[in-house]
Amino acid sequence: MERNMEEEFPVIQIIDKEGRYVDGTYKNEISQELVQRFYRQLVCMRTFDQKAINLQRQGRLGTYPGFEGQEAAQVGSALALEEDDWMFPTYRDHAASITFGRSYNILSSWNGRIEGNLPPEGKNIVPPSVPIATQLPLATGVAMANKYKGSNQAVIVYFGDGATSEGDFHEGLNFASVYQAPVVFFNQNNRYAISVPVWKQMNSETIAQKSLAYDIPGRRIDGNDVLAVYFETKKALEQARNGGGPTLIEAVTWRYGAHTTADDPTKYRNQKEENEKHRQNDPILRLELFMKAYGYWDENWKDRIKDEIKKEIDNAVKGLESMPPPDINDIYDYMFEKPTWTIEQQKQEYINHWRGEMKC
């Protein structure tokens, strides 16, 4: 008999599109404080993303990959982490990175600044891996070391639907499964790898079902339901911490915008029609409906946080635009702990030339 993977891996929800409970398991853990925290961060991240796109359009930021529509998947999963856990985000995961502790200065990487790659001291947030899926084996390795050291830290690694076609996806998951490494593989299935839809990417119905091959838990969750994302990710992280090994999570979501500001999605999909449909399923709208339905909503609070967020983002942009000029030593000084003689010599030769030019 043919197996139906969409039935075997049903989309897990806690609240539905209308913001109503469909699963009350975590009801007791859901407080005003928690949902307000989610809501504030979702709105904050969308504001940040819109700001970044505007900056790019005004020529104040380089090419930028927007994440609008994916806020719940990123914010919910990042909030599920413990402070000293490890995060391997992709370049589209600024919401996850910022939620977990990166500063808004992450944006400066799109202006060609290395500062945009640097987490705060003590935070294990690795800069995005540019080649797709190559971060998965690294995350597994970090988790293997955690296990070896008897550390309680878990690892979360993000990747998109396109990444599942890469060999590194298999290698990362297989090693994690073999060594029962404490790592959560968090897939955001936004249905498109630039222009290629997921149904051309693979012949499988779901990404979650790929967990069967590694004999690890697989979960398919509604990536636009921040509560489902948060609690399912938390559960997977706890399991990892307690020796239960890795989990593959597929968070089904949608990116409203282009792959990056250099991409035109109207070439490969009907943006208007698709987005009209997906706006009905918006992660922020859904949480708002939920808060209103269950007495967590406060209009004054919403106005207040919107003002706060605007100020925060405006300050972030000021920070971005008042960075000191880049340090030319950064070109040479971090290849090795101590530069080799070739690099030392090349640096001196270039700096002498450069200083000479500046005098002209």
Binding site: W86, I114, N117, L118, P119, V126, P127, S129, V130, P131, T134, Q135, L136, P137, L138, A139, T140, G141, V142, A143, M144, A145, N146, Y148, K149, G167, D168, E171, G172, N174, F175, V178, D330, Y334, M335, F336, E337, T340, W341, T342
Partner: protein
Amino acid sequence: MLTKIKTNKLTPIQAITDGLRTMLKEREEVIVLGEDVGVNGGVFRATDGLQEEFGESRVFDTPLSEAGIIGTSIGMAMNGMLPVAEIQFLGFIYPAYEQIMTHATRMRYRTKGRFTVPMVIRAPYGAGVRAPEIHSDSMEALFTHMPGIKVVCPSNPYDAKGLLISAIEDPDPVLFLEPLKLYRAFRDEVPEEKYKVELGKGKLIQEGEDVTIIAWGAMIPVAMQAAKQAEEKGITCDVIDLRTLYPIDKDIIAKSMQKTGRTVIVHEAPATGGLGNDIISIINDTSFLYMKSPIERVTGADVHVPFWALEEHNIPTPARVMDAIHKVIDF
């Protein structure tokens, strides 16, 4: 007062095992991983007995997956470990090339040292043992060209242990190339205790006046035989064992070249883009006015290592090195 250092007569591969054992004993962050390195002790027996001695958490078999071995080793190194990963043959490293190029060599650079990758990749390399296809590659220049990784290649047991210990203690990635043809070719005295051979330093292994021969790894015995034949004809040679291929010891090259004025470079790898060209550049930069003749290279052709029935035609031989010596002398 001299205290006698206890030594053992070891083959190059036994010296590598000894180096691994020394570091496994000394630092618990050191782990050894790769295909068949556990119970089997490695296909060449480089890790023989280590799993038994240090346990399965320190010395372990991995799935058959070069990118997985290197990728997870990078992660472990970022998180406080000192992994020593074995790639069974250098010719099998290509699936892991992306991990090395994208992450191992770039992590310190792109995070200003916030995350670093102190790992060693060990790989047997080179032709001359009648191995099947792909088992005989010596593509060291693919890695010396790559920014952010040191490349080391010992030619004898003493250097093998001392360089391996330096590589493991180095704060950055090191590719450790093992000339498989020499694994059991001879024995030499190797101190039992821990010692280091500094990375980036070549060694003058024979002194002469007329020609400088520069080689490394499995080409050292070839260079030495040629030097001996030359001596019979009254030509004496400096022979430099480069030992580290990145960064190259330019001082030892310049010093010798400025004495002899004539250089022959020997390597197995293809000529174009090969390391010989970088050595020529170093001589050009440091010793141009000392040159008495053009520099000669004796290398593999720009071909893949031939099927083994023909491989001897593509590996530099003492006779070919002798031809080059005559050329630089007769110029």
